[in-house]
Amino acid sequence: MEFLQPPGWREALEARAAHPDALPIWGGTDVMVELNFARTRPAALLDLTHVPELSRWESEDGGVRIGAGVTYTRLIAELGDRLPGLAMASRTVGSPQIRNRGTIGGNLGSSSPAGDALPPLYAAGASVEVASVRGARRIPIDEFIVGPKRNVLGEDELIAGVFVPVRDDAAQQFAKVGTRNAMVIAVCSFAVDVSEGRVGTCIGSAGPTPIRAREAEAFAASAAPEDAAAREFGELVAAAASPIDDVRGTAAYRRHALSVLARRTITWAWETRCA
């Protein structure tokens, strides 16, 4: 297996263009598991940890652009005030070691429906910035991920970062049941992002991709913040999920758990906005 370690962004894009079969790696918290379990045998690894550009984030008009190499630990410490939902999701990631190594770009690249950082990004309406030697483009996140562990990244492209809109009055929440990667425990997660006239949602781990509950969003955007509305919202979220029965748990439980998470998180978000 070839090991490529470009010193900068330009070189990384060139390496990617020259080695379309190279697997990009940053913290390795997903990639190394795949390699250790022999689920994947890439011809080359493209190590991006020496690319300084990827480890930066900066404010942009209307939001924050976060480099693909920003770790969960830094999301919590440096962006917790601006993006509380993303910080909450980052806190639920495994262990301090994983939070120190795992990156937002890795979560996007793996495109797992169980990726912890993904639901808050969907709920906020984030865009994924991808780049190649040909240039850069931004893709809405729900168009970027197209199936379980599948995305539209071109074979010469790398994930540069993600743009996350920041709305001044937004209240964000994230909750999950079970533990990621614990086979026998049914897992699902939910993120909500509430601002004036807008409600964004996303369901994690309950379908082939993270899912936005559009009907629930439309309902909540105009609903009065009351218990009955929160309950209705929960039901609409559960209806939007497409979980399956497997050895980890039943679809019925996952839908139920989602309705609970959705009801609780919208209630907390409404409370935050009223306070």
Partner: protein, 729 residues
């Protein structure tokens, strides 16, 4: 006492925390080669042929060894029944079974070649469920049954072993049916305890070589003397020419009891003439040994005043593809399931079934947690139904010090009512905090195993002393505790004593390092050896002489005095078990009833150890064991999806993490010096685990209004329990 009873620092602590301690995996032997295992991808199949050509062609490969290629060697091992081939010969009995061993110059070449071994199979019907395996028409895994080894130290079964019956235990007393008919309350239920993997940081590994006519093996074995017997038989060598050396072991918990990869490494060395290392990954270790899952049908009969009149247990264990240690687990489960209570009538029937799954063997607790779940939950349920406090109900029925719970066996060497009092005081029973539930329970395990232990003490000319013992250091602290006993007996400071351990070529015989026996039994053989050495000193130089002076007077220059001691099933060790290991644990838990998530907020344990020679080590054992119990209670379970394991790795099989440890830990020691070990000590290391499953289930049951009957308590199971209308689930 000066040293015994003190939490002296671990003798291996500095080496371990600085990474200098050597484990089998750290060793290399000159000329060492590497073995990798090709495994079956079928649950039950006949091997038609094995194509090793492609594997042999890989650069660096020395040999590709199959079961058939080794005839006429008999590859089977097993301390109870020799039915477990190191490599499958004509059939595979489970997905993951070793079918070939590749030996190569590098591990990488060996692993690559192992993937290229191609086996032509004819599939056979498989049976994945233990009850089905014992039913009519199930495919039989072992049509030719092999006689048991004649070892009086291993509990033998009752029924004739036919079909897929691997082992059975069947006994009782009193008229159970009459008691059930006359009782005011009869509880009946079916309970399930999961099959588990005893996760240890160091996976199974061994290095083997043949040197000057002897087989030398470095390994992770907990019981090197048992492994020595298997190897001696396979290679037709005398015990004197098999040397099994066990350096530090990175966790055992019973999962490293008995023979694992040692025959594979030895076969590699036998065929190639080179030293061979076989080092499994964690994933392969999961495919090597697991614990017995159990389905427990239990009935308990009570009088209106709470008197426990009768218990009736019918248990089926899922024991996997080979016998291994399941017959002993079966016997122990039977002895431990009904609890340390006075019961007029008892009927126990435990059957261990072969299935086409990973073979089951020992794991911490050893049959106790499986049965305890049913037994203790029925105590809680009965208390509710009779309107009696659950503590009062237990106190009414629990045996008093010295009373027998198994006819003819040693009486209980513990004060259980006092232990329950300490435990429930810590838990605040019966007043649970708002929205919380308290659960607790008790257990008694016939521990110590067959009491055979030999120790040797050497008094040196400079006034220092060392001891040679066969016990392994698994992280439990055996070398520290044995050092303390040696220092105490000889009146030496810790700096002047040392332990040499677990090398069958050098150290005296030790039957096992299991059944929580080392402190009590090795401790006593070591004390006997010290007494013997002191007697020799007195003979040479008179009573009260310093041993350094005695050595000098006798030898003039250099020299040493050796004392030997032994414990055997004789005298005060005649009655079995050598001691009872008590479990007395409880929790305070919270439940999110809507999602089913359980959070254990407090864990309390009572370590009824007689005397804590090193209290800090006992605390470590008590907390570690109880935490393993929490794993089984909340998240650990090996799950079969069809004929393969769905979670054969520690990413998907979830052992507890630091964040799962309860915020409040109360670890209580009960020291009444009522044990057979040194200074009145008894064993520790398993007891606190045994009641934890039932305790967590009881706490959850008290919150949601009905008691669970299946572990682990995943959020979905708890949610379903809370949804169930039928209060008698």
């Amino acid at each position: 006492m000066k040293v015994a009873g003190q939490s002296v620092p671990r003798v291996d602590g500095p080496a371990k925390v600085t990474g200098r301690a050597r484990y089998a995996l750290d060793l290399t032997v000159p000329g060492m080669t590497h073995g990798a295992v090709a495994r079956s991808d079928r649950a039950h199949a006949r091997i038609l042929s094995v194509d090793t050509g492609e594997a042999e062609a890989v650069n660096g490969v020395l040999e590709v060894i199959t079961g058939a290629s080794l005839a006429p060697l008999d590859l089977r091992f097993g301390h109870v029944v020799r039915d477990h081939p190191a490599l499958a010969v004509d059939r595979v009995l489970y997905h993951g079974e070793p079918v070939a061993l590749v030996v190569a110059e590098t591990r990488r070449a060996a692993e690559r070649a192992a993937r290229l071994v191609s086996v032509d199979y004819e599939d056979l019907p498989a049976v994945m469920d233990a009850d089905e395996a014992l039913g009519e028409g199930a495919p039989v895994l072992h049509p030719e049954r092999i006689e048991r080894t004649k070892d009086e130290g291993l509990d033998q079964g009752g029924e004739a072993l036919v079909g897929n019956l691997c082992a059975a235990a069947d006994f009782g007393w009193g008229d159970v049916d009459a008691a059930l008919a006359a009782a005011d309350l009869v509880l009946e239920g079916e309970y399930r305890y999961p099959m588990l993997y005893g996760y240890a940081m160091e996976p199974y590994n061994a290095i083997a070589s043949f040197e000057e006519g002897s087989l030398v093996v470095y390994s992770t074995a907990q019981h090197p003397y048992m492994v020595r017997e298997d190897l001696a038989r396979i290679f037709a060598l005398p015990l004197a020419r098999v040397r099994v050396v066990v350096p530090y072991v990175g966790g055992g918990y019973g999962s490293k009891s008995y023979t694992k990869v040692e025959p594979l490494a030895a076969l590699g060395a036998y065929v190639t003439g080179r030293p061979v290392r076989v080092a499994l990954s964690v994933e392969e270790s999961i495919l090597t040994t697991r614990s017995d899952g159990a389905r427990v049908r239990a009935r308990s009969a009570f009088a209106a005043d709470g008197t426990l009149l009768a218990r009736d247990f019918d248990v089926v264990m899922d024991s996997g593809a080979y016998t291994d240690n399941s017959p002993v687990v079966c016997a122990k489960l039977a002895n431990r399931c009904f609890g340390p209570y006075r019961i007029g009538a008892v009927r126990v029937r435990v059957r261990s079934a072969f299935t086409n799954t990973v073979p089951a063997s020992s794991l911490r607790g050893f049959g106790a947690p499986q049965g305890n779940l049913a037994g203790e939950l029925q105590m809680d349920d009965a208390a509710d139904r009779l309107g009696i406090d659950a503590l009062a109900l237990r106190l009414k029925n629990v045996v008093r010090p010295g009373e027998e719970i198994l006819p003819g066996k040693r009486g209980i060497d513990a004060d259980l009512p006092a232990d329950l009092d300490l435990l429930t005081t810590s838990l605040g029973w019966p007043n649970a905090p708002e929205g919380r539930g308290i659960g607790f329970g008790i257990s008694a395990s016939d521990a110590g195993a067959h009491p055979t232990s030999v120790a040797m003490v050497r008094l040196h000319a400079d006034g220092s002393a060392s001891a040679a013992v066969g016990a392994t250091e698994l992280g439990q602290g055996s070398r520290t505790v044995l050092s303390q006993i040696l220092a105490e007996q000889l009146g030496l400071p810790m700096e002047k004593v040392a332990i040499v351990a677990a090398d069958t070529g050098v150290t005296p015989y030790e039957r096992t390092t299991g059944a929580s026996r080392t402190t009590a039994l090795v401790g006593r053989s070591l004390m006997a050896a010290c007494a013997d050495a002191k007697r020799r000193v007195a003979e040479l130089a008179g009573e009260g002489a310093e041993f350094a002076d005695a050595i000098k007077a006798f030898f003039g220059a250099g020299g040493e005095i050796i004392g030997v001691g032994a414990v055997r099933r004789h005298g005060e060790f005649r009655k079995m078990p050598p001691f009872w290991e008590i479990g007395c644990s409880g929790v305070v838990a919270a439940v999110d009833a809507e999602t089913g998530r359980v959070r254990v907020e407090q864990l309390s344990t009572v370590g009824d150890v007689g005397f804590a020679i090193n209290p800090a080590l006992v605390h470590g054992q008590d907390l570690g064991a109880a935490t393993m119990g929490l794993g089984a209670a909340l998240s650990e379970q090996l799950v079969y999806d069809g004929q393969t394991l769905a979670n054969p790795n520690v990413v998907d099989y979830r052992v507890p993490r630091c964040s799962d440890i309860p915020e409040r830990l109360d670890q209580i020691l009960a020291q009444r010096q009522d044990g057979i070990g040194p200074y009145g000590a008894k064993g520790a290391g398993e007891g606190t685990l045994n009641p934890v499953g039932a305790a967590v289930a009881a706490a959850v049951g008290r919150i949601v209004g009905r008691y669970p009957r299946e572990l682990p308590l995943t959020p979905e199971r708890v949610w379903r329990l809370a949804q169930t209308e039928d209060a008698r689930v």
